[in-house]
Structures are given as C-alpha cells and as structure tokens.
C-alpha cells in the first residue's frame, strides 16, 4: 500500500533487527533477581540493589532468597511456585527490610525463562495506585456498554483510548494498527489538548521493527516509567548456569533499546506504556500511552489496562469478524452462483461473464479477464489483449502459487504502469500453467500522512567505532502522494477467488472428460458413417439394379408383344432407376470428401487436369470442345480430389455449352499466399443471382430434360475446396459464358501452421 520506504540497503537489516532480548540491562526503578529453583539460590542481581535494599550485590550473590526476605515470605513464595501457573502468585506484595525496622514494599512478579531459571522482578509499590477489583469491573462494563452502541471501528478505537487514558492519566493515549507490510497508523487518539495530534498519521515499519513486534507479541504490556533513567546492569553479566547473558525476553523491567529510547526522546516522551493487541496470534496493533514527564503505573493498574484492552479488543475482533462474515457470505453466494452458471453453460467462461452476478462481483473488481485455451474473454475495464499476453508471460515466469495479488502491480511488473488506470491492482489465479483468471482494479491516488519523512525514518551514526541506527529527529507531518496503487484486495476476496478456482478446475476437468467422450462418440459415428457409405454403395444399389435388369429383360423378351405405351412406360422406369443410381453415386462421392480424408501431397495440377480430361474424353469429342490450359503449378492437395474438382468444373463447362463451339480455358495466377485458378467457358452463363445457390447440394437451374445431372457436382467442388482451406466462386452473366474461380493456399496448410508458430513464440514459456 505504501511505496517502498524501508531502507533495504545491505547492512541495515541486522542493525535494525538487533536482538533486543539479549539486552542485559534493566530499568532502574525496579530490581531483578535471577534464581535457581528449588533452593532459590541467587545467581544474578541487578546492580541497583543497594539503592532499593541497602545491600550490595556481593551480599546477595551466592546466597539464597532467605538471605533477603523473611522465612515466612519465602515459604509463601515456595508454595506459590508449586502451583501450575505463576499467575496465582503474580503479583505478590513483598516487604524487604532495608535497615533496622525500615521496610520497603514491592510488587513482586515471577516468571521462568526458557532455560528454566526463575526471574523475580520487584517494583516499589505506590499505595495510592491500589484500585479495587470492583471499581475496575465497573469501568470495564461501562466501556463495553459504550462499545455496544457503536458500530464503526474508528469509534471503537476512540472509546478504548478514552477509557485507557481515563484510568491511567497519560498525557496521550493512541491506538496504533499495523498494516500487512508492518507499517502502521494511528487510528484512535486521546490527549492533552495542547499536544500535537498524531491521529491519522502513518509510521514506517522501521519505527517498530520486527524483533520489537515479536517482543510485543509475547510481552503484552510494557512500561517505561522514565525514559531518561539510566539503565542498570545485571551482574554477573554471564549467568553461571546457562553460561550466557540473562534471558530478559519476558522481563517487565527490561530496558528498551537505545534506539527506541532515543525515538521516544525525539518525540518528547518522558514515560511510555504499550499494550499489545493480539488477533489470531498476530500483533494486530498497540495501545501506546505517552507522558511528557516520568510516570509510574503500578503493576495492578497495568494489568487492569491490559485486561481492558483485551476485553475491548475482543469486541473489536468480533465486530470485524461479523463484518467480514457478512461480506464472506455475500461472496460465497456469488461464487456458488458462478459455479452454477458455469456448469449450465456449454463453455464455462460464458457462465462467468454473461449473467448477474458475474466475475467482477466476486472480487469487487472493475475489470476481469479469463484466458483460456489461448483466448481472452474480457469484462469491464481491462488492459488490451496484447498487454495481457505479456502480463500472462510474466505471471507464468514469476508466480507459482495458486493465487497472486497486489494492489500495486507496477511495483512488481513495471510494464503495468502504462495501464495503471485500469490495472494498478491485480488478483490472479492460474487455472493451469497456461490458463488464468485475472481481476483488475484501477489506480487510486491517495495521500498518506506520515509522522515524519519515512524516507529518513532513521539514520546511521558512528559512535565509539560502532555503527548504529538513530531514529529520525523530526515527526512533523510529511505528506506523501501514493500513486500506482489500487484499493487493496481483502483477504475474503482472495479466498473467494481461490474457492472459485477450485470450482473452475472441477468444471474444466469435467468438461475435458465430456469432450473426450464426445470425441469417442464422434469417432464411433464416423465409423458408422463409413459403414453407411458402404451400405449405400452396395446394398442400396442392388435392388435398383434388380429393377433395372428385370424391366430391361421384359423389354428384351417381349418387345414384339408390347405396344408403344408399354415401351414408353418401361423407358420411364429405366430412366428413374438410372437417375437414382447416379444420385446415390454422387451423394456417396460428396460424403467421401472430408477434411480427415484429405491426403495432402505435392500434386502437379497439370497431371490432375489431364486425368480429368481423359475421363471427359467422350463428351469432349461429342461436343467438339476446345480445351486449353496454362502451365499449372504444383500444389499441396489431395490429387484424387483435385482431379475430381477439375472433372466437375470442366464437365459443367462442356455440359452447359451454347450454340458456339465450346471453348474452355484453365489458367492460374499467384496471389500473395495462395494460387488463384480459373476455369473459363463460353457457354450459356449463369444469372448472377444464382451464383451462390449453384454451390448448394441438389440445387439445379435446369430440368433434367434440358441438362441431365443431380445438382451435386458444384456442391462436391465446394466441399473439396473448403477441405483445402480455399475459396470457390463464379463470375458470369446469362448468355456470356462463365468463369469459375477457386483458390488453394500456397503450400497447402502452411498458413495454419504459421499461425500456430506465432502462438508458440508468444506463449512459449511454461508449455
């Protein structure tokens, strides 16, 4: 969501992510003692014991807790330590005798380190900060009641900061929410009126770096009562048992990193308290309390604040989840509608775009594209197809996950900048390596208010030979205009897209299955057709022959006994049968012309023509036709079909001759990527209004008495040419002869192959 503001240069990362928990210093307002159970022998103590207890470190080290406290208190503690949780013990009031009868009262908190050592932390008790539980309960209830009448997150947050400030009295209480990328912004603030407001400001990720966020997640409340107090060491620095520095990860007294202290100083903070807000195990945000001067908050009050924070925050979570839930239900409904439409459509893509709701609604996008089987289906505002080609190439090379989404595509893929107005945001799901569904969102120019220039969030300084980071000094409002970003994709939308992906995959698989079945069915029906063709040629002919033969036998045997009428009737019967036989032959010839049956080979068109003319020899002789031709090219064609084509066209030219001597000429011209053939005749010609109709099966322009024929010849020609990916047409005028033209692609199907090659170049990757 934010332009890259974190300085990612080489050595910064380890500086920024310095392991805070190896910090061996604590804040001076309390005392830390590392103990070994069960003897409760003292292994390490903070070097400020003299200030608080009036004894030196060496007085305590190598002794036990009994040397510091009354046996009665120690026994109580020992009992508490056997309980399953230290929460029963925390906090415990402890009296330490300083000198004579002078006692100091402390709030004592125990925790165990991951190495199994017991850490006791003591903070002086301030009697007036003692709040009874009941009043705290009322406080929390009032707050929650106020929350229930509030509906939006901003008001919620406002109530939290108000309540926390009311209890604690900090000068400023803020609610800080983290983004996905670790940056954060202040979404609630309650403060002394004269203080500058931080509400709405963004803070770069480096302000609360990863190790700090990790600590916040494990340590729910952190107090720095005096940011100017000098930290004190724990001695000895190396623990005699673990042989390493004390592990202060869960210490409440642990002193903050120098960088953080400096950061607070730069902001003018004298005391700070931070309460972590955790949602689903993740640090969702912080309640940050600032005071201009040092301020102590008792352990109990801190706990109360933490409790309040947790209770109220759980309300927020529930509220957020309800909102999420409603939207999720809405998307689930859309998604199931889409799956329903897809399964009803012949092509699942239609189901995604042709109804309401459609693909756009599923992800609240302004544009969407489905790339399937090398084809795009676009809906709404999308980049152009040629841009999508490159985008998909990029996705193929760079995305291996089931889903990819960004609200700033140009940051990942700079070429996208040119169509930022439609696709600054991209949500993509690959259906397979080659097929994608994409959603787009346009650029939304936003102004982000930063608490200080995020580009100078920290600086490097060289002190005592150590390279270290110092936080920025200025927190003045710094306005940044964010470009090339869209509104962010919500997690529920991404999940809905993923669900849809499953649906599509299922349907595609099922449709592939159905297609395979269809192919099998087709194969079967093709085989059936071939059988039918054979039956037609054989079984259908047989009874016809029978009729013809017996009628002829009648005529032959009894010609003397038959009158003229009988002979005429017999002739009609014979004619009918003979026409039927020709029809069967022609339909059979037509059905044999089939793309799959075409056997492409280099064919000399001259040879095909000569063979056709041989078949037409008799009719040529009868009509005295003069047939001439140019030298014809060699083409990629089925030689039998090419011969048939010439035979039908020249045969027609002979048949439909005029009173003149028939003159027929066959010539050819090379066009860009095809051969143009023409068959010219000086015959009776064709009325141009019939120039389409003559190519239709069984269409005739004359009676059979005038010109015999079945009306199949040109239909067969057309089919042959179509199987060769060419075109056929006629140019003629009635009484002025006719010229039939047809084209054959140069090199047969080469143009088709070239098309595929281009595709390979564009989509070559990942295939």
């Amino acid at each position: 969501m934010i332009n890259d503001t974190s300085l990612q240069s080489v050595d910064l990362t380890h500086l920024r992510e310095a392991p805070i928990h190896f910090n061996t210093q604590i804040q001076p307002h309390g005392v830390l003692i590392v103990l070994q159970e069960p003897e409760l022998s003292i292994l390490q103590v903070s070097s400020n014991v003299y200030t608080h207890f009036g004894v030196t470190e060496s007085d305590l080290l190598e002794g036990t807790l009994f040397d510091l406290l009354d046996p009665f208190q120690v026994e109580q503690i020992q009992t508490g330590l056997t309980a399953e949780s230290l929460d029963y013990l925390n906090p415990t009031k402890i009296w330490v005798r300083k000198r004579g009868d002078d006692y100091a009262v402390f709030d004592a908190v125990f925790h165990r380190t991951s190495e199994g050592l017991l850490v006791l932390e003591l903070e002086p008790t301030f009697a007036h900060e003692n709040i009874p539980f009941l009043s705290f309960y009322h406080l929390a209830r009032t707050s929650i009641n106020r929350l229930e009448s509030t509906t939006n997150l901003r008001d919620f947050c406002q109530i939290i900061v108000q309540e926390v400030r009311k209890i604690t009295g900090f000068d400023r209480v803020m609610l800080y929410k983290f983004d996905h990328d670790g940056h954060g912004s202040v979404i609630g603030e309650e403060k002394l009126s004269h203080l500058e407001s931080y509400l709405g400001l963004h803070y770069p990720e480096s302000d609360i770096p990863k190790p700090a966020r990790k600590l916040f997640a494990s340590n729910w409340i952190r107090l720095i009562p005096d940011t100017h107090a000098e930290p004190v060491e724990v001695v000895p620095a190396i623990n005699p048992i673990t042989e390493s520095p004390a592990n202060l990860t869960n210490s409440v007294l642990r002193s903050a990193s120098k960088c953080h202290i400096e950061y607070l100083h730069n902001m003018g903070v004298g005391a700070s308290m931070t309460i972590s807000l955790i949602k689903d195990g993740q640090l969702w945000g912080l309640i940050a309390c600032h005071h201009q001067t040092p301020k102590y908050v008792s352990y109990e009050l801190r706990k109360a604040c933490e409790f309040l924070g947790r209770v109220i925050f759980s309300e927020i979570s529930a509220h957020e989840e309800t909102q999420d839930y409603d939207y999720r239900m809405q998307l689930t409904h859309i998604q199931s509608k889409l799956v329903e439409y897809m399964s009803q459509s012949e092509n699942f893509v239609d189901g995604l775009v042709q109804h309401q709701p459609n693909l756009l609604n599923l992800a609240n996008a302004q544009g969407a594209a489905v790339y399937f089987g090398g084809k795009y289906t676009l809906i709404g505002e999308t980049p152009k197809e040629e841009d999508l080609n490159y985008l998909i190439q990029w996705l193929q090379a760079n995305v291996n996950e089931d889903v990819f989404y960004t609200n700033s595509l140009p940051q990942h893929y700079p070429d996208a900048e040119k169509y930022k107005n439609v696709a600054s945001g991209l949500l993509a799901i690959p259906i397979s390596k080659r097929n994608y569904v994409l959603w787009f969102r346009p650029e939304v120019i936003q102004t982000v208010n930063w608490g200080g220039d995020p580009n100078n969030a920290f600086e490097l300084s060289q002190a005592e030979g150590d390279l270290r980071i110092s936080p920025r000094k200025s927190f003045e409002l710094w306005k940044q205009t964010v470009r090339l970003t869209s509104l962010p994709w919500q997690l529920v939308e991404v999940k809905a897209a993923l669900e849809l992906r499953k649906g599509i995959v299922n349907i595609v698989l099922r449709q592939a299955d159905e297609l395979a079945q269809l192919a099998r069915d087709l194969e079967l029906s093709n085989a059936e057709l071939k059988k039918f063709a054979y039956v037609a040629s054989h079984d259908l002919q047989e009874p016809l022959n029978q009729v013809a033969n017996y009628v002829q036998l009648l005529e032959m045997r009894y010609s003397n006994e038959l009158d003229e009428d009988a002979t005429e009737f017999i002739n009609y019967a014979v004619e009918g049968v003979s026409l039927m036989q020709t029809l069967i032959d022609d339909v059979l010839a037509y059905s044999k012309v089939d793309v799959q049956a075409v056997e492409f080979e280099l064919t000399d068109a001259n040879t095909s023509l000569e063979r056709a003319l041989t078949h037409l020899r008799q009719r040529t002789a009868e009509t005295k036709a003069i047939i001439t031709h140019d030298d014809l090219p060699t083409v990629m064609a089925d030689r039998t079909q090419l011969m048939q084509l010439f035979q039908n066209l020249v045969g027609n030219a002979i048949k439909f001759h005029s009173d003149e001597t028939p003159k027929i000429h066959i010539s050819t011209t090379r066009l860009e990527d095809e051969w143009l053939f023409s068959v010219y005749d000086n015959g009776i010609g064709i009325d141009p209004k019939f120039s389409e109709r003559i190519f239709v099966i069984f269409q005739r322009l004359h009676t059979r008495d005038e010109y015999p024929g079945t009306g199949m010849g040109l239909a067969i020609c057309k089919k042959i040419i179509e199987c060769h990916r060419g075109r056929i047409w006629v140019e003629s005028k009635l009484g002025e002869g006719a010229t039939f033209y047809f084209t054959l692609p140069v090199g047969g199907q080469r143009s088709e192959r070239r098309g595929r090659k281009v595709q390979n170049n564009i989509f070559g990757r990942g295939q």
């Binding site: 054989h538 002919q541 047989e542 029978q546 033969n549 017996y550 036989q581």
Partner: protein, 147 residues
Amino acid sequence: MSGEDVKSRTIFLVEDNKADIRLIQEVLKNSLLPHQVITARDGVDAMAYLNQEGEYKDALRPDLILLDLNLPRKDGREVLAEIKTDPKLRRIPVIVLTTSSNEEDIYHSYDLHVNCYITKSRNLSQLFQIVKIIEDFWLSVVTLPLE
C-alpha cells in the same frame, strides 16, 4: 479345343438374391455351351456342397464358381479364402461377381487369389456381354486341369 464331344459344364452360382440367380440363369439360357447351373444361397451351404458333405455327397465338382461377396451365414470373402486354401478346391476358377466396386473388396479378393473380379453391370445388355465373355473365356479358351 478339339472336336471331341462337348462335355457339359457345371457352373456353381453362389448368390443369395433369388432375382439375381434367376437373371443369370436367364442370361445363360442364351449360351450355346451345354451346361448346368447349380446354386447355393449362402456361404455355409456353398462350402457343404463343395466339400460334398451330407446331402451333397454325390455333388458334381464345378468347373467354374460365380461368387457373390455379401452372403448370409458365411461371407463370400470367407468362402473365397476357404476355397483358395483348400488343396482339393483351389484350382477351380472363382469369379467374384458383385455389385460392390469398393476398392478394399477388390484388393482383398485378389489377395485371396480370386481368378477375376467383376462388378455387376447395371445394364442388362452389358450383363449379357459379361456372361458371354465369362463363358467364352473360362469355359472355352482357357485350358483348365482335368479333374
């Protein structure tokens, strides 16, 4: 041919269609050669006759077989294959006489050693010519082994 007494020839016609049988018989009536036509209506019957099985135990060995390809019970192609692989029968000339002009049928028949393949004419006068040619050629011109 010598002037010896003309032996009557036996023509075995395997054809399922009664009309076709009758037609060929009618056409053969014009023949000058003494002959007799024996018919079988299916492939099984035809093989039984040729192998002199059952009621055909005294069957005459044909001088010429006219065989249709499409037959009930046992196909003409099977009949052809059996004749041409049987040492006793394979020397009898077999002429496939059929309406089929299917290339596959033609190739297949010659592969099975048919003596010749003739597509039945649709024209009666042509049929007369064909039958006459068959007679002249196979029963007069050609010298066949005497069996």
